[in-house]
Structures are given as structure tokens and as C-alpha cells.
Symmetry: D3
């Protein structure tokens, strides 16, 4: 469908969640999911019809094999996923319900990807024919050598004229604000398409707090200088309001370097699985960007895609473009599709 | 409890749904349910205390046996369910959640019932002592020979003075509007009690679109001529508003041939399993009709029964009259019944 | 964490619930939970950091062993849980959904605890070092000899200067109003901290119906004379409004013997498992009481604890003080705790 | 298929087994099965094509309904199963594996059937058109009033010229040897077809220990006087050798009142579920007896039926005559039946 | 690993098996597996390191998608799997246990592949770079048009100098002996590597029954003329002895056109899942053949591969060459591989 | 029951196994078990009636809590289990079946226990009142600091006159032979009761290979000098013969420092879960040793206990002394325990 080949790079983990509504301490079984921020973007873009490659490092064992199988199943190219290292990163996810928030235990240190180095990868082969490169802040955060890999990848991409997409994805459990800022200052100059919010600009990058009272004003005040400073083409993000752990409202914005801002009032919905909602937004937006849609059209698609993801079990948004479009158009309502 | 023996006729299928919240492509397990429009009516009427017979054709294998066991379990008579043919119809049902609609894949062609002929059945024995016959539009749609069976059954019923109940149940994936209209024109003259909505009258039967702005007016404008033309005693239907795939509002109406219209403002509720909601309404209404209740009482019962069904797993509304009455009365509220 | 040793006494049962959303008649599997009103209080107080002892009588078989294991798992002391008798009480719980209420079948007669006598227990050892004794009306109701055990225990506690906490927990399927009143009149004189509502005072204890129109007035009118008559220090309760079987609003009050009334407007929430919600409230309130908090602080904690319980599978509120405090403070909202 | 209507009478229980290979103390789920000695015979005879009625007393709740549904599913008539009493008997079954034996916890006291009386049943209606009555020693053992029911039923049967079949089924956990002997001495005079072994005759009924070294001799020495004394037509039994909890050898014998003894060397097999193996033997033998087969042919069928049962999950031998015959003939071997 | 690209063609079906040890009539859940004779060969060869392409026709729905995902997961190329037609073939598989044989219900008529025609496929693209083509007798049997597809594919392969492998796989439920012989007479001239047994040669192809008493003699007597007549290079097969439905002995032979016969005494083993055992043998033998191993080495590998398959859940032998070699060498015994 | 307090020290891990018979790459669910060599000994000794303490270091998260709950459930004292460190060790266990061996993936590096130091523990409190200390070679192997902890613990025990029990448990994936020998040479001088085999003495400790042909001779030749050199009181071990991954024969020996050798011919059995079989042997032997049984009696008990473990799901041998004695006596055979 698309001629664009997308390259994504990052860490993919084994996610373990108690079956049913149990807490981790009660669990007699864990449901098995494989996922990671960039892998989720990769799978979703592949489901939207793009040819996508995912680059990571995986251990030489059955868990590494299972990751490969998961990616191949959704037609993500794994030719340049190298094998080695000691372990697959793991996280334990206890889903929340109503007023009880979800809880996550990370066990991702010393993963194969965290110990990868730029020399592990064949950059020429990886980027051959590529039209977009995507990674995110988590990959910068998990280890100095993973950061080196991501920075090298971004450099290799830009050197070949391939645009770079980046999701801020700041995770406070992985690094401090100052570590993050330092890394971002290195990485952002490579970025063409950014996913980030006002808080990222202010709290991490140190841009001044907005003085405006309304969201539009706040976005333009804080994000415009960010775009200018790092020569970024477009920045977008969801705005999430949580009525409870299992009912959210999602809206979003996109702003380009000429200051053109689009906002979308979004959707309110109940949640099956909230992991990967941001990645689904990024994939949705990139789908529109790759197809040359207008920013507001891409934004609407990105939001609907993200909502769709929240109703699907697993990290990845395994729905088709048609399914997302049907949510946007409202045609057929919520009746059974026969 | 009731002296009325009800005869229902139609196709019953194997329904396969992914366990948990998975999509069909993710499924490692399918939950097994047996159901079909008229079988659902049969089971519900049996649970309400009527003696009910179900007539169909089933393959001579373990799946056919399982259907028989399902029906017998709920005390539906299967003596006149004949065995033969090649296969049991199947449908795959991916439940929706929140803003993601459910999806169904039908695999019902060449089923034993679709290949049944009127000669397969012993009509004298089937209708002995019967007080009501019920079938629906799906049986007319699945094949020419099933249509012949249904038409023959309706004729045999009326010839013996047994009233005929019919649910429009138009399914666009089974036939075209013109095929449906042609079949309905043959069948409706047999019908005493009908379940159909304004859209059925207008879009399928070709009655003029209503000019009235309010639902009451629309119903009277379109359904009254239908009742008159086909000499039908009573027509009823739910009116469904879908907030999402898992939250609906259900109201309904019933109109008799003298133009007496009752409407009920219904209920808003969350959904466990929406399949069979219309069949539960029909069974609820027929229960009142068989017991000689006033139409508005039957309508209230039918709506509550349908709501009850939406909270029960499986196609069939396996609840008692007392349970439905308790929902109508509101007595005991939603506290635990101990 | 706490120097207070709490002694609780009552019956713990095997709870069997159909897996998934099935009804009891459909069940091919039952989920296994062990719980009982006082045991739920015991487990919750232990999770809040108190040293807690649970006193009961259990059969000498694997089910009795499983109960012991369940209690030990949550660090509840079982040294004085005696073994003997014929059987473990059982209840079958069909969870409700939306407009369909839950249903419970009790099968608890002749349980080991119902046939316990005061002589089965070593009261000196049980109360050594204890700072609080808690039981509830169910233990008075299940059999005359269990009532004797509870009354004896309360007497032994008070004789040692240990305050007594009591939850009314009137269950109409276990005894009549007059049986209950008779037993309560014997028991209430021992009570320091009570959990009961206006209906308990009026309908069971025969206090005059309140004339006030507002809840505050009703509580003060009916509960103040109860506190005075039985020399009770504090009475508290939830006030529950049920939008459906799976969505409730919970508020509450606490009133002391000087007439000081606190009310809390509470929370609205969706429900995973509603069994044990009242026990979680009692445990939450007792936690504050044991720590010497102000009554309104204890009340707020008790309500949040009860809400937390409704989101947890099983009878017992296995959450920490920190988790409840985080719900009260609202800090972190409903975002994932990483 | 058969004109013979068989009446069986006894207690049916809820069986709860840990899912998977877990022990009872480890169980988070119990698999649900309904079964009882005579109900198992009833279901098996129904699956072999006989019209079978099952007579018992069941509580008025969803568990009683579930039993009725189970029986109806296998086309066992439940018209004369009366409702009332307090509870359904329960047993917890921990399956054994290899050298670890299975363990059972009974919780069957005060069941609806144990508290049934002869006046609960309409004997005229029950035995109308019957060709055989079957019950077993467990029904005599569970309570004095159940024993009265069984004795009354046997008397009613014989008074109408209906032969009586009886399975000794001595269970030492239910009564003492002397209680059993006393009851058997009352019951055996009604019996035409008996299922019992050498140990039953010697240890319960007090017949002299056999002096013969070989099984044939032992059977003839002990069982012949039993047949003579009580005027019994035929006695049969399995002989079981247990290599482990999950691998058995089953042989059997049948002896008639003229001293004609048949033995069958039987089968060695692995076990899926050993409960109901003896009942499947009795049903298999009665099938041959009802069809007028030669005793050795009935014995071979009974043994193969019993083996079949050991490979089926649940108490009841839900296989067809054809499936058992195919095991006897060996035709098709163990290859897949397509 | 291998430069050889293997093309396989055939039908892949949805297999549904009752979870646990239940029979089909008892099933509340079906385990989902996708498999078919040639697809199983494809997956196994891919797991052994070959680049493999699978050619079939699949419906345009989620079940067709799931098949594609299954194949891609195991790195089988699906580029030339065309979409269209009405349905995916289904079979219901009730596993046997001990002396109870497995039972299969086929529901495969009118499948997308059964209605495929040679024009659906792009033969040039399919065979580009291929080193082997494999299909089997089932594809010839399912419909005249599927047979045409298979014959055309074999012709296209040979025309390009690509050797053809064929597994007899006679299924009596799909066609008669005379239909099979007629089709085989057309197909066998294309075959280089055959999988067939003495019974196939005698009973289907009509070669004279062997007069020899020993297996070696029988094989040479019957298979040598078959090889000669159809100019086949090599014929191999397993010889299966079934102690029970879950314990088999598997040996095998391979014979070349010069009359060189190798036999292997094989293995005795317990079975997890017996479907696909023959396909695993074929894949194992072809692996050796593709790597140029000696026939006896290929035979030993094929037998061990087939045994391995019987211990794996699902149709396909998802094990590595190393795992099979380790079974052959016996190194490490049956101790845990850490 | 016993006055002896046993202290065990080691690492306990989260074990994840695919549900059903699936391989790790196929797993959609993992069964959750917590276990480790010394924890398994602790749980088993507690089930045999000893008061047992387990000393380890666990992370401060829900997984650490779950371990504590698991140990407390079986009444193992966890007061001296300290919290801290980064993660809980994990291993993935793919059970074998028949001729397919089990496979384990370890992911235990950097576990909380591997990073424990002797200063983390309060040795005085830990050993107060203790009568035995037990640890094993795995704890020496997982990290230098864990080795230090184990050596320090052994020293603290011996300094207080508490005998030390040690299981060799050499795991080649954790360290080299020379690393192991070096550590053992430091540790063995502390040991009173040893679990080790001929291979351990020869291959790890470098004692000369035995010249004797029979096992008795080999044991005496190699183990006697080991006992002498390190002044060890008693050495015991199982001897395992594996017919397949799921059928083993287990025999064993015990030898004391005076050269008195006992051998036991053991048992052949099918396996539910083979993990922890050696630990169950050690616990069984120590049970006899603690009770002052004769060595041959302890050995018989240890072997039966180990067999029992192989039939139980999970790492730990949760059976009672009575259950093991009943296996030894053979009383009751393999019939159901009612």
C-alpha cells in the first residue's frame, strides 16, 4: 500500500499481567504480551499498510524467539534485529480498575538492548530504502550505550536524508530530569516530527512556564520556541483526562513550525488495556504524515487510533486503517459489523 | 405453568468467540455457545414456564448432539429436530468494547437447516396441541429451501388455527432488499404477531417514509398500513440507542391493528453479551401475549427481559419470570439477592 | 508498625463463584475465595500493619488447611484457630452485572464454627496482649452456640479492659428481627465501637423512626439514643446508593457518644467484586481509631478503603495504607504507578 | 431404541475438583461436575438408548436447577425429581497421579436427598411402564430416611413385577459394617440383579471366607450362597488391579443363580477420571441384560464400557453403544476416527 | 542457512479441540490451532532453517488473517497466498486418551482453497528461485479444482527443473479408492520424492499384494515397481504401531529407485498431540534430502522429528534441527536443558 | 510437633511455565510458582511439622511480597527475610514430555539475594534457638557476595554448635568446575550432613574415579574419603534413571562417616512436575535425621517424599508425613482416600 519503508528502533519487553482482575500478589497466572514503545508504533504502522522494520537486540533464547515471532506475525521486518546479550527486559503490569490505578514493576536493567552498542548494527543495510526513522525517549534513557545507539541511528538517518520522528516519552523511573534534558539536547537537533507536550517542554527542557490560561495559548507559548530552537517540523501530542483508571477522555493537538495549531476535542471511552495508547497516537499521526494528509486529518486519525488501541488487549494497536476511519466517520455507529 | 405449547422453527448455530477481550486474530481459545434467533426465543419461553418445541435440522455428528443437549438442558423439546445434512452453521463473534464495535464472521452456508426441505418434517406431529408458532426472517433468508420450510410451517400452523409469530430480523449480509421484500410478501399474510420496526416497513416493504417528526407518529404512519395490509394483530419492536458498543439504551413500542400504540421509555445499561437481545424481547412479549396480559404490560416485560439478556453470557435469555418482574418492580434494587 | 494486637472472631467460608460472567447454572468452573466478615476485617487490618489474630473453628481437612493458609498468607495469626467439627461453611456467589443483581446461595449450616462452643477456646491465651476485639452480628446469628462463643469472647475482652468493636451486619436470611434484637440486646452492652445504620436502630432495635428529612438529622435522632442506651463510644456506617449492580456511590458517617457527627460525601465507582465492602470500611475505620486519628480522618480513610476493596477480587481488602491514602489525596490521579 | 424404561433412584452431588494438577489446598478454581452412583448409571443407560428416569430430591436453588439441566441434557427424565430440603450434597475430589492416590472430602450430610421420605414421591407415577429399577448401597447409607425411600421404592417395584438391580457400593466412611449388614439384609430380598464382590459377601454379609486359592473358586464359594439365600438371579463385579493411581487393570466376572460363572480378562489402561468406573460397569451390564444378551457378552460390554468411562472427564460414561462395541472388536485400533 | 527455497501448496484449516480432556459435546471452549498437511511441512522446514513459501487461497476475513499471521510467525513466506472465496476449512478434533481413540469432524467443503483454480496463482513468481515443490494427496482430494491447481503446480515445477515431493496421505473420508487412483496416476509421473506405504501401493494403486512375510520384503516387492513405473527417486514412510491412542511406536523406511532399502527401528513414546506426525516425518526427511544427507541419516532424522512433533501441541513441528539431533544422539538424556 | 527450629538460607525465584503443554514460544500464559532449592526444603520441612525459618533478600515490590506470602502460607518464618535490591530472580521452565526434555531459561543475575552481603542479616537473631542450618551449592554459585553470605551463615551456625546441612547442587550454567571446587573447599569443612553424589566427588572435588563396577563400591570408594577429609557425618543422594522426560526411576543411598552404607531400590513413576525432586529428598532425609531415625529409615522416607513431590505441581513438596508414610507402607494402595 505504501512505498514508504519505516525504520523503528527501541527496546521490546515481555509484559506479564495477572489473568482476570487479580493483583500481582494474587496472581497464579500471568498473561503474556510482548511490547515496547517503538515496537508498538512499528506494529501499528504495519497494520496500516506500511512496510516497517524494527531494529533491536534480543537474547538468544526462546523469549527472544517469541519476540521475533510476535513482530513477524504483524509483518514487521526483523532482519536487522540482532541477537545477543543476557536477557529480555520484563515488566509486570497490574491493570487498574475504576478508582484503583494500575501499577507497573519494571525489571528491564541489563537487557540485551540496554547493552547494545552502535557497532552491533549494520546501518547501511538498515536504512536502505527507508523513508522515516522513529525512536523515543525511553531508548535514550535505558542505558548510555542504548542512547549511543539511538543517537547514532538518528545521525545515520539524517545523513541519508531520512526524516526522524521522536516521541519524548519521559519516564521518571528511568532517569532524572537533568539526565533527560542533557540527552534530549543531543537528540532533538535530529528530529523532524516530534511527539511531546507542554510539560515536557517546561519541566524537562526548561522552557518558561506558559502564562496563558487556555491550552491553545499554552501550547503555542511553549512549543513554538522548542520547534524553532531545534528546527523541528511538527509537534503533536494527546491531552489525557482520566475520570478513573478505566475511563479516560483523550484529545490532542498538532503544531507546525509555522505556528499553525490544530486541536481535536477527542473522545471519552472505557478501557480494556491502556498500555500503548500514546504509541498508537504516534503511529496514527505518522500514518497521516506519511500519506501526506493535512495535519488536522492526521490528528483526527491519530486520536481515533489511540482510542481504538485502548479497547484492544496487548500493547499494540492491531487495527486497520478502515477500522479507525469508521470510528471517525461514525458510520454504522456501534452496531455489530456483520 | 402454561398450557400453551409453543412451536419455534429456525436455524441454530455454533457461535465461537475469543476468550477474554481478544480479537479473532489473537484468539488462542474460542468460547462455545449454541444459538439462533428462534432457538433463543424457544429457550427463553421455556425458562418462563412454557412448554416449547424447537424444529430444525442438524448434522449427524457431535456438534449436532451438542445442540440437542443445549436445547434439552433448557427443557426445549427436540423430538422433531431431524438429523441429516452436511454441517452445522457457524459464526465467529468478536465482542466490541466501548467505542470499538463487535464484528461477526458468518460461516453458515450449506448448513443442515439451509438444506432442509418441507418433506423432512412431520407437520402433523409437530403442531399437535400447539398454541403458537414462531419463526423469523433469517430462516426465510438462509436458502430457498429453508424459506419453503418456513412458509410451509406457517401454512400448516394457520390451517390448524394456530397463530403465527414472526420477527422481521432483516440481515443485509444474507439477502438483498428486493429478495427480502418478495419473501416477506409471501410470508406476512400468515402472521398474527409481528416484531418489526419503522425501517423494516419503509426500507424493506416499501411503505412510504413517515412525515412525522416524533417516533409515535412515525410508528403509526408506517406500521398501521402494514398491519392492515397483512391483517396482522400486533406489531412490536425495541428502539435501540447505542452510546457505545457496551452501553445501550433500549426502549420499545407495541401497536395493535386498532391503532392502539404503547411506548415504554426503557432502560440504559452496560452489556455483557448483546447477541440475542432482540430475541429476548420477542420471547418476553410473547410470554405476556400467551398469558393474556395487556399490551403495555407485555411490552414492559419484554423490554426488561431484553435488558436482562444483555447481562447474561450466551445467546439465550436464561432467566425466570420472577427475575424479570423484579427488575420491573425495582424491589430490592441492585443489592445482592441472598 | 502498630503495637496494638487485634483479635477478631467469626466464621470464614469457602466462596465459589462462576468463572467469567456465567450464571451458577452455566458454571463449568468456580473461582475459589475464602472469606467471612471478621476474617476480612482481620486481613485488611493486617495489611494496614497491625498484628492481628483470627479465632474460629475449622474442619480437619484440606479445606480447613486452605483457610489457615489464606490467613497466614496475609500474616493473620491462626494459632488459636481450633480444628474440629464437620464442615466448612460454603456460599455460592453469582456476581451481578449492570441491571442484573448478584445472587448468593448459602450452604453454611452445621459448619465447624456454627457448632463451636466457648470451651473450645483458650481465652487467656487468645486475649494476651490484645488491644481490640472485633466480631459481628453474623456470628451471633449462625447458631446459638456460636452466639455463646461471641458473647463469651466479648465478656472475656471487656473483663481484661480490651475494647470491643462490633459490626451489626444484620442478615435476614439467617434469623428474624426478633431473634436479632434479643441477641443484640445481650451483646451491645459490651460494645465500644459500633458499625450500624439508621435502619438497624429502627428496624432491628426498635428505636423510633426518625422524623427528620435530612440524613444528618436522621442519624442523630436514631443513633444517639442507641449510643446512650448501650454506652457505646462511636458508631459509623457507609451509606450506599446503587446505580446498578456494578456501579455504586458510597458515603458514610461517624457519630460519637457526645453527639459529634461527621459525614463524608464519598465516591462513585465501578465494581470488580462487591463482597467485603462493609468489612473494608470497618477495618479502615478501626485502623484510624487504633492510630488515634480524628473521627473525620478515620471516616475518610474507611470510605476510601471500602472503595478500594470494591476494585479488588476476593472478599478481603488486600491493599496498603499508602494505597488508600493515595486515593484520598488524589495525588498521581489515575495514571499508572510505575 | 429400547422399550424398557429404567427407573433409578439415589443421590446426585456437586463434585468440585481443582483445575489442572493442583491439590485442594492449592486450588484457585474448581471444575464443576454433577454426579452420583445411580445418576451415573442413568446417564450411561440413556446414552446407550434406553428411556431412563432418575428419582431424587434436590434443593430449590440454582444448584438444584443445574443438576436437573445436567440430567435433561443427557435425556434422563426428571419429572419425578422432587424439589425441597436444604442443600445439595458436595464432594471435593483431588485427583491422584502416578504413585499419589486421589483424595476425597465428603460434605454430603443433610442433603435434600438424605432428608427425603417415602411420602415425597408418587410411586405410581414413577413406576408406570417401568421395566427395571436400580439403586445402590450408598442410598441406604446416607440416612435412615433415604434408606426408607430406597426400600420403599424396591418394594413398590417388585409389587408391580419390576425387577430390581442393586449395586453394593459399600462406603466405609458412611456407615459401619454392622449397619451395612443390617440394611442389606432388609434390601437384598428385593434384588434380582446384583453388583457385588467377594469382599462384600465376606466382610459385610458375613459369609465364610473362601478356601479356594483361585479367583473363580473364591467367587463361586462365596457368591453362590449369597445368590441362593436372597434368591438373586445374577451377580457381577469388576476386579480392579491398580498399578498406580492413574494406571489400572480391570477384569470382571458374572455369576448366575445356577452357578454359571463367566470371567473376562479385561483391559489395562491409563486414566483421565476414575470416578464412576463402577457405575459405568453396572450400566454396561444392565444394557446387555435389558437387551437379552448372553451373560458373557454383557460382561465384555460392561468391562469395555467401564474402561471407556475412565478416559472421559466427569462422573458419567457419556459414550454410545457403538463406541463401546468398537473397543471390544478392536476394529480401527487406536487410529483417529475421521 | 539453506539456499534452497521450498514451495509448498495445499489447504490449511482452523482446528478446534475441546480444552482439557473434554469431549466435543462437553466443550465450553475450543483451543485454536491452524494447520494442514503441507503447511505443517512448510513450518517445520522453516524451523529447520530453510526459506519456505506456502501457497494457498484464504478467505478475506479475520480467520484468513490469522492463518497468514500463523505462517508469518514461523517465517513462512505468504506473498503468494491469495485471498478470496467463501470460507476457511474447519475441523473439530477430539483427542483420544488411552484406549479411547481420537475423533475428528471435518467441515472443509467449499473452502477458499477447495474453490481455487490454477488461474488464481502467478506460477512464475511462485517458483522463482525454488529448489523443491511439495504437496500431498489431500489437495488432490478436496475438489476437482484444487486437484487441477496441484497438478498444474507440479507441472510448472518440473517444467522449471524443480523436483517434486509428494505425500500420499490417502483419506478415505474425502474420496473413493478409484477416485484416488485416477488422480494419483495423473500426479505420480511428476513426483521425485514420495512418501507412501505398502498399503497405498496395494490398496490404492492396485499393485499386487506382497508375498513376503517380513516388512523389508514387502516394501521391496510393492514399492520398487511403483518407483519404476512412475520414475520416482525415493519413497519413504513411517510404520506406526499404536499401543493406545496416546502411546505409539514409530519406525520407518526409505527406499530408492536402485532398490536400496533402509529401515530404522524407531521410538516408543507418549503423545501430547498426534496431528501432524506424518507431516513432521516428511519435513524431517526432506530436510536431510535438501542437505544431501545419506538416506539412512535422513530417515533417522525424519523419525526423531516425527516423535518430537508428537510431544508438541499444535499441528506443526516447531522444533529446531539441534533439538532433533539431540534426541538422536541421546546426549543429555531426558534431563532438563538449562 | 518438633522442637527443632531449622534455618534455611538461599535464593527463591519466580518460576514461569507455559500453561498446558505449550512451548515457551507458544505461551499466551505463564503459570506462576515461587521456588528455590533451600526454600523448597524449608516448605517441605514445615509441612512435616518442623518450625522452619527461611533467610533471603527480596526486592521491595509486589513480587517480593508474593514470595513472603508463599512462604508464610506454608508456615515458614520470614522475619529475617530482608528487603532490598533490584529484582527477584526469574526462571522460565518449559516442561518436557515423553522423549522431549524440559528446557529452562534462567534470568537470575543481579537478584536481590545475589547482591546480598553478610551485613544485611542479624545472625544472632536468625540462629537463636536453631537446631539445624541448611543451604546449598546454588547459593555459593550465584555471586561472590551470596557465597560470602552462605559461608558466614555456616560459620555463625557452627560457632553456636548448630549442625550444618548442605546440598551440592552443582549447576554448570552458574559456574565452572574450578570455581565450584574452590568454593566447596571453603564450605565443606562446615558441613555435617551432605547431599552429594559420586559425580560431585569425582568431577567437582577431584577425588579419583572409582574402580568398582557396582554402585555400592563406587559410592564407598569416592564418598568415604570425602567424608573423612571434610569431617562430614553423613552423605546421601538420589540415583535417577530417566526412561523419558516424564517417567523416572529414583533410588538412593546414604553413607555415614563410619562407612555404613544403605541403599534403597526406590520407585518408578510418572511425573507431574519434576522441579524440586532433589530438594524434597533432602527435606525428607533431614526430617528423619531431625527425628533421630535410623539412616535406612530416613533414606526410605526421603525417596518416597521425593517421589511424592514429582506428582505435585510447583517446586515445593507440600505433603504431610502421613502421606509419605502411606506411600512407603503401601497400605490402601492407590485407591481413593475418602
Amino acid at each position: 500500500m505504501s512505498e514508504w519503508a519505516v525504520v523503528t528502533l527501541g527496546e521490546i519487553m515481555l509484559r506479564l499481567s495477572p489473568s482476570g482482575a487479580k493483583r500481582i500478589v494474587q496472581a497464579e497466572n500471568f498473561d503474556v504480551v510482548y511490547g515496547g514503545a517503538e515496537a508498538n508504533v512499528a506494529v501499528s504502522l504495519s497494520c496500516f499498510g506500511h512496510s516497517v522494520r524494527y531494529v533491536t537486540r534480543l537474547p538468544e533464547n526462546a523469549l527472544g524467539d517469541a519476540v521475533i515471532q510476535f513482530l513477524r506475525r504483524y509483518e514487521v521486518d526483523t532482519q536487522h534485529t540482532v541477537r545477543g546479550g543476557r536477557r529480555l527486559g520484563i515488566y509486570f503490569m497490574e491493570p487498574g480498575h475504576s478508582l484503583r490505578p494500575a501499577q507497573v514493576i519494571y525489571d528491564r536493567r541489563n537487557s540485551a538492548m540496554a547493552e547494545a552498542t552502535p557497532e552491533d548494527f549494520n546501518w547501511d543495510a538498515i536504512f536502505k530504502g527507508a523513508g522515516l526513522f522513529h525512536t523515543c525517549g525511553i531508548t535514550l534513557a535505558i542505558s548510555p550505550s542504548a542512547k549511543e545507539v539511538a543517537v547514532r541511528a538518528a545521525g545515520e538517518a539524517r545523513r541519508r536524508g531520512i526524516p526522524v520522528s521522536f516521541d519524548f516519552n519521559y519516564r521518571k523511573e528511568l532517569w532524572t530530569v537533568s539526565e533527560a534534558r542533557e540527552a534530549m539536547e543531543v537528540f532533538l537537533p535530529y528530529v523532524n516530527v516530534l511527539f511531546a507536550g507542554v510539560r515536557d517542554a517546561v519541566e524537562i527542557m526548561g522552557f518558561p512556564s506558559p502564562t496563558s490560561a487556555d491550552p491553545q495559548g499554552q501550547i503555542q507559548e511553549t512549543m513554538t520556541p522548542l520547534l524553532v530552537q531545534y528546527n523541528i517540523e511538527q509537534v503533536s501530542s494527546t491531552l489525557r483526562k482520566e475520570e478513573s483508571a478505566t475511563r479516560h477522555h483523550l484529545s490532542g493537538y498538532t503544531l507546525d513550525h509555522r505556528g499553525q495549531l490544530h486541536m481535536n476535542k477527542g473522545h471519552t471511552f472505557d478501557i480494556v488495556d491502556r498500555i500503548g495508547g500514546g504509541d498508537a497516537f504516534a503511529a496514527g499521526f505518522l500514518h497521516g504524515w506519511l500519506k501526506g494528509w493535512e495535519p488536522d486529518q492526521s490528528l483526527a486519525f491519530a486520536l481515533a487510533a489511540s482510542v481504538y488501541k485502548h479497547t484492544i488487549a496487548g500493547d499494540a494497536n492491531i487495527c486497520s486503517e478502515e477500522e479507525v476511519q469508521s470510528m471517525i466517520s461514525g458510520e454504522g455507529g456501534f452496531s455489530i459489523r456483520r
